[in-house]
Point group: C2
Chain length 449, copies 2
């Protein structure tokens, strides 16, 4: 099979389309360009020769596509997302985030790796079969959502309401990337997430800081409230927070022990002295994979520009994301958080829920796990790395929990691709390998079913 | 004396000049328009018939002015500042902060009350004497600096180097305003200040928050460090912080007990339920005047815009202002803060000093205290309120500590004028009364000396 037998002409065309896709902003957190990007993606899919449609949901539209197979009645559902993270802080980008500047085979753009590169690679794989072999090995359904980066708030309802449309035999959540060692990575699940904003409002207006002895400062209130949530040793201090954490199985522990260590590469990439608490090797991996987190993603109060201003702010906010392990449930945890703040004397701290996802897992014995493992090994000429679950989150549970399908989380993004950070990138080489990986998945899934 | 016998024409001219002054931004924290404003002020003073010059310092220029008296060889030094606070948050202004919009005798602008209104009123008072009585009662020296809002970093050196130029018999720090009850207020000193930025930098770049189990989060570090500085009961937990606080004298306690309570007005103005800790009446005043503070003026880390972003920030900063009571010394406290953070395990928190001022006091028996008291009572037809020291800060110690002069801190700004906050304002009535107060001060100081 010569899926990579691109002439220079077709490769250029592929990369051009990919860069046009990147140039269309689709920032779901700020509702910038999302609808336009959905239409763009639909047109792109039609252009590649498949059925595609923009489907409305209660939130941003989804793009659904289909390729029928002449060879098998099995169906693989490919999930990914066309929305991207906000590009802030803008001044740290070497090239503008939506220019899709290409230098020496490297493309810099918000969404280059997460996940527009992934989408392009799988679409190209389907196109390959249609154009060169007249049929995909199995039926393929594509589901690309526009709200993954804000926690997929409407995906559960959408999937619930479209069980027939999404009928399939397994799912590939195609939103991942390679391991730092450049080996393919396959996650058998994801962490859940609970994203909240803590707000403290006091006076109607900011006042002169000379009033500090007698006017409550919301920034101090927030600091003390946050301090009550997590101690410097990393422990979340909210009562009952860890109650539902399912301990890892021996099988999972074994998978983790087989993972290549990442600590040295992470330390180098981030320019830090050591990982948190000096943790190393398999211990770092076990923490990364198994530990629930409480992360401050943002803090804001008062005067935040250059220089000094003697102001007593009237408002303070913190954005917090909690990553969850099976079987933690976001709604129960939100309830525990509220009770905790009340008990600690912080009834004045408002909690605004900005999103949540349940954690999810698929057993290592599932045929989609095997199919993707074989496919990855063939494409990258090296055994893939299997994670019991990803350190990140995704709406995997809508497939495992609503459609009752087995699901893997994988993809072809480069390692350290700066997803969610300035100067996110992809490379032509990684995209081409991604196309190969995707074609292999379709073929292997047919072979195994 | 008919200082207020303005024809409508001269009043309009006065207000027009004042509004032009307001329209010239002079944001020292951002170095916006400062030099231009100094030149504007010099021209304005020359225009009013007095000697004036822009004098360079190591920082922003000062504007110095002089009016020689034919009647007395005593000299009063009038200090104020032409720089203003940054206008942020801009979106909360009803009118643009540098438009100086006037509606029904109320002028809205950054600097309207703090302190361009004060400056205008005293200049007008001097002009009155020159034009109508051919001489001011005493010699007047004006010293208007351009760095008060950033902590007067170069004023001490300037005063030290210009002791002859600034030779005088007493000082009026003309940067204050009326009490909430509309009575004039005279402070016999000020609190000192130490303004610092706490910074924690970790990785080179923001990363995906899924790394939270193994990558240090500077926002958490900052929260824990701040928590170690002050407890929810308001106590500053830094060892030795209160060592140099001079207890209030019986005379000061008596002055405080005679002050009208402010608590109800503050509560109403700020739209809050109660003052911090439910404190009321004279107890609120004692805290306001006598208590050293640790105020968070700003907090910033990670993603601070609308919606959610799952990021682990690489930097977090807090702006903190500490108000100081005689005889606390900013440099010693800065040293204590550093030692405290080290001892608490926060060597990774950098401290950047953004400014400091020593606290300062003048005895109630000083002739300038009496002169301003009489002047105020004549102008406002009510006894002024005497504070042992202001709740705010100012570079008073350069006069009491370097020139060894007695000094009061007073002025004519309206109460609750939103200094340092959006929609700062002044009124034509307050300005006119301010001119009267200033003319009285010059006359009474001559009478008493």
């Amino acid at each position: 099979m010569d899926v990579l037998g691109y002439t220079k002409l077709t490769l250029n065309d592929f990369i051009d389309k990919y860069r046009s896709f990147l140039r269309q902003p689709s920032i779901s957190a700020k509702n910038i360009g999302v609808n336009e990007c959905a239409l763009f993606l639909r047109d792109l899919m039609e252009d590649l020769g498949m059925y595609a449609d923009v489907v409305q949901s209660r939130g941003n539209p989804l793009v659904y596509g289909e390729v029928k197979s002449q060879e098998s009645d099995k169906t693989l559902l490919i999930y990914s997302h066309y929305d991207v993270q906000p590009p802030d802080p803008l001044n740290e980008w070497i090239y503008p985030p939506f220019e899709a500047k290409m230098v020496d085979g490297k493309i810099v753009a918000r969404g280059a790796s997460d996940a527009k590169g992934n989408i392009m690679a799988f679409l190209k794989a389907a196109e390959y079969y249609v154009k060169n072999e007249k049929s995909t090995p199995v039926n393929v359904k594509f589901l690309f959502e526009g709200e993954e980066e804000i926690g997929s708030p409407n995906l559960p309802d959408f999937v619930e309401a479209h069980k027939d449309l999404l009928k399939a035999d397994a799912v590939v959540c195609w939103d991942g990337g390679l391991h730092p060692s450049n080996r393919p990575a396959i996650c058998l699940g994801v962490k859940g997430i609970l994203y909240v904003e803590l707000k403290c409002k006091t006076a109607k207006i900011d006042v002169h800081s000379s009033y500090a002895p007698i006017v409550a400062n919301p920034a101090w209130r927030l600091v003390w409230a946050l301090n009550s949530i997590k101690s410097p040793d990393g422990r979340i201090k909210i009562e009952g927070w860890y109650d539902d954490v399912r301990p890892i199985t021996l099988e999972e522990a074994k998978l983790i022990s087989e993972l290549p260590p990442e600590d040295e590469e992470i330390v180098k990439e981030l320019g830090i002295r050591e990982l948190l608490g000096g943790v190393k090797g398999v211990n770092a991996l076990r923490k990364l994979i198994c530990e629930p987190t409480a992360n401050i993603a943002g803090l804001k109060s008062g005067y935040i520009e250059e220089g000094s201003k003697t102001v007593l702010p009237c408002e303070a906010t913190a954005k917090l994301d909690f990553r969850l392990i099976v079987d933690q449930k976001p709604d129960r945890l939100l309830d525990l958080l509220r009770k905790h703040l009340n008990a600690e004397g912080f009834r004045d701290i408002e909690i605004v829920k900005l999103g949540s996802l349940l954690p999810s897992k698929t057993p290592p014995s599932a045929s989609i796990v095997k199919a993707s493992s074989y496919a990855a090994e063939e494409a990258y000429k090296v055994k893939p790395i299997l994670y019991p679950n990803a350190a990140g989150s995704g709406p995997d549970y809508v497939f495992t929990g609503i459609l009752y399908l087995e699901s893997v989380w994988t993809g072809c993004a480069p390692p350290f691709s700066k997803a969610h950070a300035p100067n996110e990138f992809n490379t032509v080489d990684h995209l081409i390998k991604g196309v190969l990986y995707a074609t292999n998945i379709l073929r292997e899934f047919k072979v195994l079913n």
